[in-house]
């Protein structure tokens, strides 16, 4: 059985996926790679845009998601929190 991801893991997956694509990815590709429904993806993206971790741009007929420096910093912070969680068996 696949373990259900928590919020921290989903945000980590979103940011990591964007970073792995050199900081820019099509919104539809991101949705498939992170394996989220359109509704859930939209709510996560809105939250991350409001927190200035990512931005959205329109190029031709596609919407692209870009990671911002604040998003990169947040990823580092998340990495540490995850390591702490893992080290203390939480």
């Amino acid at each position: 059985m696949v373990k259900k991801r928590n919020k921290i893991e989903i945000i980590q997956d979103i940011l990591r996926t964007i970073r792995d694509k050199r900081g820019k990815i099509k919104q539809t590709h991101l949705m498939y790679k992170v394996n989220l429904s359109h509704k859930l993806m939209k709510s996560y993206l809105e939250e991350l845009i409001a927190k200035e971790m990512i931005s959205e741009i329109k190029e031709e007929r596609n919407i692209y998601i870009l990671i911002k420096p604040r998003g990169e910093e947040f990823m580092d912070k998340l990495k540490k929190l995850t390591e702490f969680q893992e080290a203390f068996g939480l």
């Binding site: 580092d76 998340l78 540490k80 929190l81 893992e86 080290a87 068996g89 939480l90």
Partner: protein, 237 residues
């Protein structure tokens, strides 16, 4: 009112310095676990943070109580009895017994919290029973130490209880290390193992005052290692 100090005179104050490391390590872990909770909103993270905060407050209570015991009591009449030094204290010094009671209860409460979180226990009625037992243990060990020589044998009950919790916690972190095989998980396991061993040694403090020093040194090493692991996990990479 009679109170007993188990520390050799030359060690007075040094133990308070040692315990400051425990205050710092547990407070920092409480703070970081709270940061984790703010993000995940998982109740287990909140309780983990509160448990370390409780441990930190326990050590703070011990340091304050010991400083109050060691220094103003030097002016009072003292009676040497076997290896233990008894200090005759006035009724106003009930604060000392209260301080130790706070230390013991909070220490056991903090350990119970960690035990509860890592054991992923869910049944709240069992938690109430355990809360009752740690309250009883704290009272019994304090009154054993503060009332009469003849029930001093009951004094180590606090350290035995703490050691039992720590044995489980150490085993949990050993298992966590075996599963993850990382330096940090090894460090955390070793730190809890050292703290567990210190509680085992504290049980025998009635035999010789020097045992208290050995136990304090082991406890210091345990919390120092925990502090180092905190630094490793949270430093900028």
């Amino acid at each position: 009112m009679v109170n007993i100090l188990f520390s050799p005179r030359w060690f007075w104050g040094i133990d308070a310095l040692f315990e400051s490391v425990a205050i710092l390590a547990t407070a920092l872990l409480a703070f970081y676990a709270y940061k984790l909770y703010k993000f995940t909103k998982k109740s287990s993270h909140k309780y983990f943070s509160l448990s370390f905060l409780t441990l930190s407050l326990a050590f703070l209570a011990k340091v304050i109580t010991n400083i109050l015991l060691y220094f103003p009591s030097l002016r009072k009449n003292t009676i040497d009895f076997l290896l233990l030094k008894y200090y005759i204290l006035s009724n106003t010094n009930l604060i000392y017994a209260a301080g130790n009671l706070v230390y013991r209860f909070m220490m056991l409460l903090g350990l119970l919290g960690i035990f509860w979180v890592i054991g992923k226990a869910r049944e709240k009625n069992k938690l109430l029973i355990l809360l009752y037992f740690i309250s009883a243990v704290s009272f019994v060990s304090i009154f054993a130490a503060a009332t009469s020589y003849f029930i001093l044998e009951l004094y180590p009950i606090f350290h035995i209880t703490a050691a039992l919790f720590l044995a489980y916690i150490s085993y949990f972190y050993y298992d966590n290390f075996i599963k993850k095989r990382k330096n940090t998980t090894l460090g955390i396991f070793l730190s809890f193992l050292l703290i567990f061993l210190s509680q085992i040694i504290f049980i025998f403090v009635l035999v010789d005052l020097r045992i208290y020093v050995i136990a304090e040194l082991l406890q210091l090493a345990g919390y120092f290692l925990l502090l180092y692991e905190y630094y490793t996990l949270t430093r900028k990479k």
